[in-house]
Amino acid sequence: MKRVYPDKEYCIGCHLCEVACITAHSRSKDAIIAFREERTKDGLTACKKVFEKGDICVAISCRHCDEPSCVAACISGGLHKDPETGRTVYDRDKCVGCWSCLMACPYGAIKRHPTENKIVKCDLCEGREGGPACVAACPNQALKFEER
């Protein structure tokens, strides 16, 4: 399956992928409204995070692992592996906010929702034309959406 692969060699730590992620997952699909209103009111947050240490930075989001630890750890069935697409799918309604997945994920790619007892996780911008928004926004092609 196609995944988002980050390249730490060329990640410039601009965090534009996070801006793109927030915009793509907003109701308005408008960066300004998403940042100003939806982020503060609804707790809209990016499902990816740029980790930085010294000169090194890398943008991490869900790896959609073949055998995901988060799915194994999920007590409510809120996370499951879609056998057809290969994606690790999150069902918000089933999530009980126990944070088991958060602890199980070896990449630190699952976040807590800032205002609700839910998690935030990459859905590869399902349904978005042109693939994940973060990949399209990366100014240095440090994110690649491809099959490896």
């Binding site: 060699e9 060329y10 990640c11 410039i12 730590g13 601009c14 965090h15 534009l16 996070e18 801006v19 793109a20 960066a31 300004i32 940042f35 100003r36 000169d55 926004a137 100014p139 240095n140 092609q141 440090a142």
Partner: protein, 509 residues
């Protein structure tokens, strides 16, 4: 208001942030290597300090909501045509520091650009133009000494012909455009790799500059011109044999008569290994080569390098365009150089004393015309190829340079612009926000060699197409037919002296 020193308030740029658009995402804060943008904890928003802005436009380019504009500071000194603001600012700076003013990139002074005063011919009914989309066009260029005549031998039995004349080594270019000398150190490894890849892809050459050649780039050697400058950094047998040609750098258009200085801050482990100098040490190239004090000395070095490369690589000599350049070029040709590169005063550099950059040298157009004419008058034009450099901005400049007598051109600043350079002129600080003139690992990774190589190759390809179009318009199907063909040029608004030096007629004649 708190007291500020005079320099602080006479800064050049202002950052305009549209509060309606700014989302405080801090992309500008992360991208500004001069820390002009910052996160203000007390106000809980992104703020900026105009006095730190150098006008690189990086923040503007990456701002996701286009909230930023970088403008010249609108306040101005009292109008005075003699004491222009630049002179006042320079004096304020020097009164503070007592130092030589440094500058990066080519001279911004308002000296005439003769390219803009020359126009090309176009075919009409008497000689038809050629459609480059339907007819083959030839941009192939060979650099190196050409034989006076070519002798061919025919085998009586087989009837097969062979070339009897022994040709000297040549550089074969698919387009008459090469990437100019920019050293590894002055620019980073990502860009060196990108230039090597683009040159290979486009069938042209890039020049190492005086920084040696990193071992991992030896595989691109067939498209590399290795440079030997006064500091001899990175010069050894394998290096000399790795390239397709060797260039002796005597002078540089941006700073004629001035040596080079790579600040220690730019010398990381990779640069240190390639240049053969300790990490963190300044690399100073003296202005003169201490073994060249005459044309005879130059001849010795040329032949020493030819020996070192077993006469397989043509040797080029690069000089700055200065007074009496034609006589100097004639001497270089007679000293055995295969290629002469002339670098005009608008050439770029990582660092130069501002006064030298803006006041020394001559425009490449005048130098080129004079060199070509002199070599022809002396009957030795075939002995050397002439490469023009220093402020070539577009394919129009390239084609005019060739019509004026150049065999090919080097592009340096245009190369950097292709990968994002905005000519902010702060290359010497090592904090290039575009990740070009820096070896800071955090900044140099802003240049992804995959993207950079593609952009550079696109630029060469685009200029190549434009050159074909212009050639076709002139009714020529080969760049060879244009070389030194000054009848294809006309001057506009030039004095008789300028027309005479350029060797062209005025438009209308």
């Amino acid at each position: 208001m708190l007291f500020q020193p005079i320099n602080k308030n006479y800064h050049e740029f202002c950052i305009q942030r549209d509060p309606e658009l700014c989302i405080n995402c801090k992309v500008c804060v992360r991208q500004c290597s001069y820390e002009a943008h910052y996160w203000d904890e007390a106000r809980q928003k992104v703020m900026h300090d105009n006095s730190k802005c150098i006008g690189c436009h990086r923040c503007e380019a990456l701002c996701p909501t286009a909230a930023l504009n970088i403008i010249k500071k609108p306040s101005d000194f009292r109008t005075n045509s003699l004491w222009r603001p630049v002179f006042l600012q320079n004096i304020y700076k020097q009164a503070d520091t007592g130092g030589v003013l440094l500058a990066g990139m080519g001279s911004p002074v308002d000296i005439p650009v003769y390219w803009d005063r020359m126009l090309l011919d176009a075919s009409q009914v008497t000689n038809p133009s050629i459609d480059p989309l339907r007819e083959p066009m030839e941009l192939k260029t060979f650099l190196g000494a050409k034989p006076r005549k070519v002798e061919i031998e025919t085998d009586r039995k087989t009837g097969r012909t062979t070339l009897k004349t022994k040709l000297t080594p040549q550089l074969e270019l698919d387009v008459p455009i090469m990437f100019a000398a920019m050293s590894f150190g002055a620019i980073n490894f990502n860009l060196h790799r990108a230039m090597a890849r683009a040159a290979t892809e486009c069938g042209t050459y890039y020049n190492t500059g005086e920084g040696g050649l990193h071992k991992t780039l030896y595989k691109y050697g067939e498209h590399t011109i290795v440079q030997v400058a006064s500091g001899r950094f990175g010069v050894h047998r394998d290096y000399l044999r790795a390239g397709a040609a060797i260039e002796i750098k005597v002078g540089q258009g941006a700073k004629p008569g001035i040596g080079g200085h790579l600040p220690g801050g730019k010398v990381n482990d990779k640069v240190s290994e390639t240049r053969m100098i300790p990490i963190g040490s300044d690399a100073i190239s003296p202005a003169p080569h201490h073994d060249i004090y005459s044309i005879e000395d130059l001849l010795q070095l040329i032949y020493a390098l030819k020996e070192a490369s077993e006469y397989k690589a043509p040797v080029s000599v690069k000089i700055a365009a200065v007074h009496n350049v034609a006589a100097i070029a004639s001497g270089i040709a007679r000293a055995g150089a295969d290629i002469i590169t002339i670098d005009g005063m608008r050439g770029g550099t990582g660092a130069a004393p501002a006064m030298i950059r803006d006041n020394v040298g001559i425009p490449i157009e005048l130098a080129l015309a004079q060199v070509d004419q002199r070599l022809r008058d002396e009957g030795i034009r075939n002995k050397v190829s002439v490469v023009a450099a220093g402020g070539i901005r577009c394919s129009g400049d390239v084609i005019k340079a060739i019509a004026l007598g150049a065999d090919a051109v080097y592009i340096g600043t245009a190369t950097l612009i292709a990968v994002g350079c905005t000519i902010c002129g702060r290359c010497y600080t090592g904090k290039c926000p575009w990740g070009i003139a820096t070896n800071d690992p955090k900044l140099s990774k802003r240049q992804n060699p995959d993207i950079a190589a593609r952009k550079l190759a696109n630029l060469i390809r685009a200029w190549g197409h434009e050159i074909e179009e212009m050639l076709g318009g002139m009714g020529l199907n080969s760049i060879e037919s244009l070389r030194g063909n000054r009848d294809k040029l006309r001057g506009v608004g030039l004095s008789d002296t300028e027309l005479d030096i350029l060797g062209i007629k005025h438009a209308g004649r």
